[in-house]
Amino acid sequence: MKRLLVLGAGTAGTMVVNKLRPLLSDDEWAITVVDQDDAHQYQPGFLFIPFGPYKPGDIVKPRRDQLRAGVDLVLGEIDLVRPDQNTVDLADGRSLDYDYLVIATGTSPRPDQTPGMMGAEWRQSVFDFYTLDGARALARKLATWEGGRLVVHITEMPIKCPPAPLEFSFLADSFFEKRGIRDRVDITYVTPLDGAFTKPVASGLLAGMLEERQIAIEPDFYIERVDDEAKTIVSYDERVIPFDLLVTVPLNMGADFVARSGMGDELNYVPVDKHTFLSPKWDNVFAIGDASDIPTSKAGSVAHFAVDVFTHNFLQHVSGEEMTHRFDGHANCFVESGAGKAMLIDFNYDVEPLPGKYPIPGLGPLTLLAERRMNHWGKLMFKWIYWHGLLPGRRLPVPTSMSMTGKEVATTTTREMEKVQ
């Protein structure tokens, strides 16, 4: 009996086991997935929680219920991977042996990594919205907040779901407008990037959207500390930004056991081949989803496209064949823009987000890189697709590799040249 061990039953890990289970014979393969708890969270849902009511049952479901029959779920904290012995130690003393290991333990916000962030103002005037607790605490704050200086802040790249802080800013603008206090709120978007977003065409467009909404942008801001007495954030080059309400995206890091096991980079991400997800160091270790160091967005859509490629490759790899499928870094994200509209962006390792139609070239029904009501409905509908289509490993009617058909390339010629200084 061969043993496939998957660490993490989140978006990527759940898809991996659910896709592979029907393809690997029950007589030859045992599939086990480990997680520290039995609560699978629909993370894209967190974004809306600060701005209104939500149904907890739509956002959190038991992990066990998302797994196919024939997949064992082990609940326990991972202490150490011993890749030279093909063993994983759990904190409670249990050990799990494997023939093949897939690390899918994602990335987590780490407010403890920035001095002062978790000080006296944490969850008083300093909030995150990437955790269920944080999003709910922020909802309570926003419901009664009287206005002042709102600072939306990104600590350091990479972060999971990179458009989320922009979406948060757009939704906040709409929210305060609706509450009739927009004129009493001053919104500043503070980022370590040199513009609104990571890719030039989208960045230019999103910067315009910030400007239209009178949201100021402070680029190239690399935070040194939160001064919770003065209620300011301070950068390494000594810029000081005051806040009444700080909504921050803390430093994102991979799991600590990755570092303890000597398998990670400086942010605990597992280095793997960006086209196959195989570790260059251990021939039976893969990392997929946010846990890996591949240079594309940390997002569920990436995990989805990645798992499609991985499944084929894994079957080849375990049969001793060469892996012939190559991941192109494909990502797509809905970008909620407030007032019931959203944009959609679609890109990969080599091609930045461009305007066009998706998923059917020329027809859509979704429109790339433009604010549309239809895109907003797409984003809301995605929650159903996530639980009922994506996690169970059903085929979705979207291509795995990014397609240039339906995209308008001409706009890239207007790309602004940017100086180093």
Partner: protein, 104 residues
Amino acid sequence: MSLATVADREVHVDAEGFMTEYEEWSEELAPTLAANIGIELTDAHWRAIRFLRDDYRTQGETPTLRRVTTVGGIPTKELFDLFPKKPAKKMAYIAGLPKPAGCV
């Protein structure tokens, strides 16, 4: 991709002036590249630049600011003093490495 002349030598650069061919760089080019962005090199600058060159050779990627601090052992604050405002980009520019990709 285009050609630029740095210290009388032709090198390949991208649209923003970052050198794109690792082997085309040598230490003689660094003072000119640094001067282009208003920096005069000291031993402290060289320590960072040499780390970047070595790290790129083994990793195949321009290191992030965090990596220069945690692996290269140079405090972030010092990097901001040496290469004001945009240390990650400025170090890469002087070291003849591609623009840091850390932003995806």
